[in-house]
Amino acid sequence: MSNYQIITTDVLIVGAGLAGERAAIEAAAAGLDCIILSLVPPRRSHSTAAQGGMQASLGNCAMGKGDGPDVHFADTVKGSDWGCDQEVARLFVNTVPIAVRQMSYWGVPWNRVVAGKKTLPDGREIEDTKDMEGLITARDFGGTAKWRTCYTSDGAGHTMQYAVDSVVIKMGITVHDRTEAISLIHDGTTCQGMVVRCLRSGELRIYLAKSTVIATGGYGRLYGASTNAIINEGSGMYIAIDTGIVPLGNMEAVQFHPTGMVPVWILITEGARGDGGYLLDKNLHRFMPDYEPAKKELASRDVVSRRMIQHIRKGLGVESQYGQHLWLDIRHLGEKHINTNLREIANICRNFNGIDPIKDLIPVRPTQHYSMGGVRTNIDGAAYGLKGLFAVGEAACWDLHGFNRLGGNSLAETVVSGMIVGKKVAEYTLGASLNYNYTQVQDFAKQQREKINTLISGKQGKENVYQIRREMEQTLMDYVGIFRNGPDLEKAVAKLQELYHRSLKLGLKSDGKWANPELSSALRMPGMLKLALCISYGALQRTESRGSHAREDFPKRDDVNWLKRTLAYWPAGSSLPKLDYESVKITELPPGDRGYGESSANQGKK
Amino acid sequence: MQAQRLLTKNPRAELYYDIVELFTGLTLVGFLWTHMIFVSTILLGTEVYDILAAGLDDYYLSYIGIPFIIIVAIMHVLSAGRRIPTRYQEQKVIWRHAKMLKGTDTWVWIFQVITGVSILALGAIHVFVVLAQWPIDAAISTERMTAFWWFYLVLLLLGEYHAGFGIYRQFVKWGWFPRRPLGFVCKVITTIILGLGFAALWVFNALGGAL
């Protein structure tokens, strides 16, 4: 068999979302040669779908007065249910204000403070002062003490991605879109690059680099109902775990967003509640104040999602052919507000559900939304296990979010970690050299070629990739959702193991030639199942409730035994991850009550 | 870019073309509408028509106006005509495109080209005939109109269509107003002008005893 084309560069960035591109800018600014790979053109990355905004403690708007990095820090740590790395959180909150201003410098048209008195939907009067006029303003988001989420109407992710990509274009950074990294190349100690499949022609290529950055985003599409883009299949994570050396962190920490629109699971941004939207039950009763008198609809996401399911379980959900749901009501915000500040939501309701949120209620249910877990890195973004491998953004477990990410902290993370890790990547790369063994490197690609040939020939079996995929999605939805328990999780692990074995016996119905989409799916399937197993097995082992991980059989947080981070490895030939744990760094804020959620509510009652 | 192109390229050529297209278009529409009002003075009687024609002649307005309009028309044909696809393949693309993709204004443009090319021919004949039998007076006009009423009818329809949608297109391309109300206003004006034209045509024919 002939050899594969080798493309070499200094820095290889896998993923052209906000995190990947921001890191690339930093590397390129250091004079390094840089190639970005992406499944899709950068501006189609999932980051563009973020509507709500990015947290930055500028404290410009009336309701943000008195905000600063310290307040942001406390919110983030509480939000994470003390699962985050506090050194990382500190570095993050101190850098965010710079990052948001840099975004402005690069062209994001952040909404600005308009001076004057305003009345909030709940009747409170606020006044934005003249001295702040024209500075970046912010809106309210769940789990934050201040109004801190900077936004551009409801296209924050879109405008940020376009601004960052404009800098990438300006700097002339190479982007190879419609390419998919399918395997990591390493020699046991150092990462050397990736085997990449071209999604135009189907051919395989080898990309070698002194440093490689995984910025492939989340894995939402493992779940049947997810707000994520359909390309969010966690590929960067399973590529990493495939090595057997690089661990994933906290994979059991899966965030559900309270308001996915039934039945298409498109996200209705938290901005809808931040701007004053209510959650109603089948009797059109606003139930959140009953559970969370202080924060109401704006407690952190894990809490609101659980309260919603709790409420539905009480029989107060609205029946529909797609199962039970609740209502989101924004009608009282008025036509003008909805058509400007929440326009995208209004369009989504109209286009995908035929309803008009100015007059109608929006059907919603908690929906898979974000992966706190990912490729475990240190504070510099360097992955555990291999030199020269880094990870940023949602694909990484830098560990800013612990067991629950605050809304708006993720866009902030992409640009902040992109900036910080990008610098570290540059530093590392400037001191590194690229050494590789030609045949060894070619072997990595040949292995992938053989996999493809086997799939095409159907030698291993005739399992249908779409069938397996549906079963995996269903299993995770049914047993590894918002509320979890031992027996269900055991069922999930057993089922997923069975599916994993079957996924090794896939056969194609089509010819699998060129950029065949069935082949693409088939290549991803075993990896996705590995991630599904890391999530459910990690959840099974973690016998406590923390943040988004809520065990009905262990409803309390258990700091004595579980104030630690899960590390999942995948030993070669195994059908289960090997779990390991490391302690969580507490530097400033010792574990305590979050001030909202179940524990506070109970205390309140007693 | 190739060196030859670089050396010959005038960076503002396309700007000037576009401005010429704008102003000649506006002028011609203005002219045609005025001309139609003038012609329809026949509705007020042959005397009014003759006085007006004589007036234009006496103050040399015709002698300045007619050459001016002819020059403007030539400039218009050159500037607007540059848009007409000349290569066979381009024409095929346009047709395929217009048929496959439903875009009303694309059809408006196609008809603009067709009517434009048609009035180039018909208008030239008409102007030539009028000038050949100078001066204008009601009797001569009546004679021509009765003999060639079908010719005038066609010219009227094509000309007013071309003018009405032409001015619509210019406002769409340059103006501050949304298309739908603009289109409505242009259609109303065109209908009025057409009404005048039909009425004048009818009166001329009545005068000539054809009816």
């Binding site: 274009i169 010819d511 | 496959m100």
Partner: protein, 241 residues
């Protein structure tokens, strides 16, 4: 109550010398709330796994899924099948390079457009990490966002006859993009610099006002008014200097 739908879909793989462009038919039972996204996935999973098409966000925000649906360029993910008769014809967008079947390479086209229009903030200011951000009127910010909402889907380009004939024409998306920077006070480009970017038949003066862009933009961008705004600005710039 469920209807049977017939999809007539363009098939061609430009990589494969043995492939010839053709239309292929698939039939499918309509489900409630079915979009073209749902239908195409169902066809791929149940009938023809080799069928190529692009979806990413499936929520009309990423701009990946534009195709010609019964003669109009639209986003397939937000097009409901119930709005059509029993036969639905799907063609790839014209103008863009074909990747295969319904998938086209809009990414390369738009990157080229961004390069030609220099779609980034041009400023001589240096970024100062400790300084407060420059102030901006909220109205101005909203105004910038109004044109920045373009998702680069390519519907305006595909529907434009001019863009179909002239390869270099930047189309409504390109002209709109320049308009976006013109209203941005952070961009220090002079009118003349903008003129150099689009003061030609490749840009503002190439547009013949065919308005297919305005008809087809799925984001409802006010392209007619935006194109006229840029045309006036660019004309004044060209005349002044």
């Amino acid at each position: 109550m469920s209807r049977q739908l017939t999809f007539s879909i363009f098939r061609y793989n430009p990589n494969d010398p043995s492939s010839a462009p053709r239309m292929q038919e698939y039939t499918l039972n309509e489900s409630t709330g079915m979009t073209i996204f749902v239908a195409l996935n169902q066809i791929r999973e149940e009938q023809d796994p080799s069928l190529n098409f692009d979806f990413v966000c499936r929520a009309a925000i990423c701009g990946s899924c534009a195709m010609v649906i019964n003669g109009r360029p639209r986003l397939a993910c937000k097009t409901l099948t119930k709005d059509f008769k029993d036969t639905i014809t799907l063609m790839p967008l014209p103008v863009f390079k074909l990747v295969g079947d319904l998938a086209v390479d809009t990414g390369t086209w738009f990157r080229h457009m961004s390069l030609k229009t220099e779609s980034w903030i041009h400023t001589n200011k240096k970024f100062d990490p400790i300084a407060q951000e420059d102030r901006m009127d909220n109205e101005v910010a909203l105004n910038i966002y109004e044109s920045e909402r373009c998702i680069e889907c390519g519907c305006c380009i595909a529907g434009c006859a001019t863009a179909n004939i002239r390869e270099e024409f930047l189309g409504a998306a390109g002209i709109n993009r320049v308009g976006r920077f013109m209203v941005d006070p952070r961009d220090e480009r002079s009118d003349m610099e903008y003129f150099e970017v689009i003061g030609s038949d490749e840009g503002a003066f190439g547009c013949m006002g065919l308005m297919a862009c305005d008809d087809n933009c799925p984001m409802g961008l006010p392209l007619q008014l935006q194109l006229a705004f840029v045309r006036r600005k660019i004309t004044m710039a060209g005349l002044k200097s």
